[in-house]
Symmetry: C2
Subunit: 473 residues, 2 copies
């Protein structure tokens, strides 16, 4: 990956940068001044050489480790985030606490007992109920979620339902996730309706490793599942499928301690670089500080926290603060239901009109390849010009009416806050997503630096412009 | 991989095969007749199109699953192997039992407890003792096995030793395994000498996934370890290393149920294609039927069982049996100390002079790229000629004085049985080796078919020749 880094650096330094430096004549209608453009380009050069981003995610994953929303580890992560903000010289550092119900995984044992004994690699899904005692039951096989939703009420009494399905389709956008995820989201409602003792699903993930992918189920109204719900790895699901196709009688033994443990405290960490001219106008960037508990949350989403914090710090290192305030939010409890995101939107409700742009990095740390936006149509030209400036990083301009700045931005988006997104290459993302294998070694420092470069240049330009990003809605 | 298959097929059919068919004039000194050569080439064409090899490893891994040496599952695997031999029409099918001490993994829990609580992904090593009760102790970090071997007696009382080391070097020959494996083999002796409560090592494996690699320790004389010995995954070891480098106080909680469970029965499955002219002369091929218990033993060594059985069956499908007997041995209890191999050599001791060649497939199922040999020097020309015939499969001729036909061939090699080896491309082999991730999805059916093609042609030619392979030793 040194190649990419060097190639990008070379393009920036010998091409675009010096061309601009020696060509002060810019088409008069550009919303970006030559000086702003040069600053953005210098930020990219600096970011590509900087190890700050990687050192942040290394510190978070090493010194804190896994940090489930609401856990004691997540509390340590907040303290880590606030300390980091102070050390990096952010102008304002705050921890904004909120309360939430805590779900704990407990211990799981799951094994095939017929046609023979074999351990399965599984993980409880978020929100699942415990088994009172060990469940020993035959498996009823469903080829996909549609087959399960078609069952009659009460037809699964004394059984464990297993929902298979194709492994999710891999793509750079992660488009296969949402359809594949239905069995994780709503499968439990139908298994319960059928009277099943438990539900087992094929993991929602694009890999073929022996790792289960955990993740939150959806509530049904305000009700969570009353049965254990377990995801098993893709190779384990393949194994059950092959045995089913051989007409072998399948049975399972399962004991899960996952359960709700009452109200606890979580929180968001908020770090500000105060704007020099319009300090009240906020450009919000960030990632989520919590992770699932199986891995150390490097890719999801230590990377996002690191990329956005490092980008803001590089902007703060400039001789002068940009006009607008840049706010880094390390959201708490994202994985367990965007709880930090909703808490933030509620707490800052009266001030959301001053949030002029929001975006989150929560799709890993592979190279950013695209910039999409959903801003005031009159501001679209600014985004187009920013896209040209970051193009030497290999980034193309995507749609100008693409809603969504990341999961934790949903509540802000709903309230009319303009959004952009810098899209990471996501082909491998769902190989690691929510597995024990989401660890630091999966991050390429050079690719992470490309992310920091893209964020630093882009966010600087949005923060230093006078262009109104917000449509009158 | 269809490309490879098609390319190989095309080369065989349109190139070598028809050239030979239409050119009956062969240099007179060749030890291989034109008819033999054509038969070998037809075997390759047939094998590349055949799904037999894959169907065998699919059946073994699916219908039997993991099959630890000495376990009930390994007994089922023997019955499966004998049934398969009968179904495929082998001339003679036998199960040759032997007794062995049984080591059982039991349940393991291992977690970091300082600087914070975090589950570790670990696995007991074969031969390790149980912990009487939960061990809670500080970790003493050793950067490699040499650092551990240098300790003073009694200096680790009340501590758990952790031996780090670099992840093993990846290569097609697997040359990095043996040096990396020292900590697994002999680490326990030094940890015990130091008085440590347990030994934890970085897994011997070339991957960066959250899987521990199990494997057998070495005995010290006739003594096994008296302490628990656990391998943790490479990412977990990286994690401990980073914490150690930050001078964090490391401590661990560990409870392992692994123990010796007394004498049990294992066995080898022996399948013969009886030779038509020299039935007493045996060409022995095979793989090992047992696997480690964490995965389903697809790559190690369901593949070897499948490749050699399928190759023998394709030879048996010829209109006429080759001159010599082809014997497929599915060795039992390889992983736990080559117990089946030694049992075979002992049982057949009086007849080993009739074993004219032996080889094992036990290095996965990626493409075979090389043929090495250790036969009577006067027979080396025959091997050279065979190498030319299988060259269209992408296989090169390696050394003619390379000892070793595979782990289970060691006792035969020691008694003077000539050996060859068809070397699989092994760069990825130690990513999967002895992990839970050794499952069927890791085998590419086209690459497995290339293996069957190489074995079928090679073994046919050795079985149908009159050349004496055995040196007078
Ligand atoms: Zn995330
Ligand atoms: Zn093996």
């Amino acid at each position: 990956m040194k190649l990419l880094k060097n190639a990008a650096l070379k393009a920036l330094i010998s091409g675009a940068l010096f061309t601009v430096a020696s060509t002060p004549l810019i088409a008069s209608e550009s919303p970006i001044t030559p000086a702003q453009k040069e600053t953005a380009q210098q930020l990219m050069v600096t970011a590509l050489k900087s190890e700050l981003g990687f050192s942040i995610v290394e510190s978070l994953t090493t010194e804190i480790g896994p940090r489930l929303g609401g856990s004691e580890a997540e509390k340590r992560a907040r303290d880590w985030g606030a300390k980091l903000g102070k050390e990096l010289g952010f102008d304002k550092v705050a921890i904004e606490e909120f309360t939430m119900p805590f779900w704990d995984r407990g211990h799981l044992h799951i094994a095939l007992t017929s046609p023979y004994n074999q351990e399965l690699y599984g993980s409880a899904l978020g929100g699942a109920a415990p088994s009172d005692k060990e469940i020993n039951a035959p498996i009823v096989y469903f080829r996909d979620i549609h087959a399960l939703t078609a069952i009659k009420d009460g037809s699964l009494e004394g059984k464990v339902a297993f929902v298979d399905g194709e492994p999710m389709v891999k793509s750079q956008t992660g488009a296969g996730y949402s359809p594949s995820n239905q069995k994780r989201r709503i499968g439990w409602q139908h298994a319960e309706r059928g009277g099943a003792s438990a539900l087992v699903i094929r993991s929602v993930g694009s890999d073929s490793h022996r790792f289960p992918h955990t993740g939150m189920m959806s509530k049904n109204g305000d009700k969570w599942a009353n049965i254990p719900v377990i995801a098993i790895s893709n190779p384990d699901a393949d194994h059950l499928r092959r045995l089913h196709n051989l007409n072998k009688p399948l049975a399972i033994s399962l004991h899960s301690g996952s359960d709700w443990k009452g109200e606890v405290t979580s929180g968001n960490v908020v770090l500000d670089i105060i704007g020099s001219e319009k300090p009240e106008e906020i450009i919000l960037i960030g990632g989520h500080l919590d992770s699932w508990d199986l891995g150390t949350g490097a890719v999801d989403d230590g990377a996002g926290v690191a990329i956005t914090t490092a980008a803001a710090k590089l902007i703060a290192n400039l001789p002068k603060r940009p006009k607008r305030t840049i706010r880094v939010v390390m959201f708490g409890a994202e994985e367990v239901g965007l709880l930090g995101a909703f808490a933030y939107a509620k707490k800052h409700e009266a001030n959301l009109h001053n949030h002029v742009l929001a975006t989150e990095s929560d799709f890993g740390a592979r190279n950013i390849w695209r910039l999409v936006s959903n801003v005031n149509p009159e501001a679209t030209k600014l985004v187009d010009e920013i896209a040209k400036i970051i193009a030497p990083l290999g980034i193309v301009r995507g749609g100008s009416d693409v809603k969504g700045g990341g999961p934790d931005i949903i509540p802000l988006d709903n309230k009319g806050v303009p959004t952009i997104r810098l899209s990471q290459e996501g082909t491998d993302y769902f190989d690691l997503h929510h597995t024990p294998d989401d660890t630091l070694d999966k991050i390429n420092p050079d690719e992470l630096a490309q992310n920091v470069a893209a964020y630093a240049a882009t966010i600087y330009l949005f923060a230093d412009t006078n262009v109104d990003l917000k449509a009158k809605r």
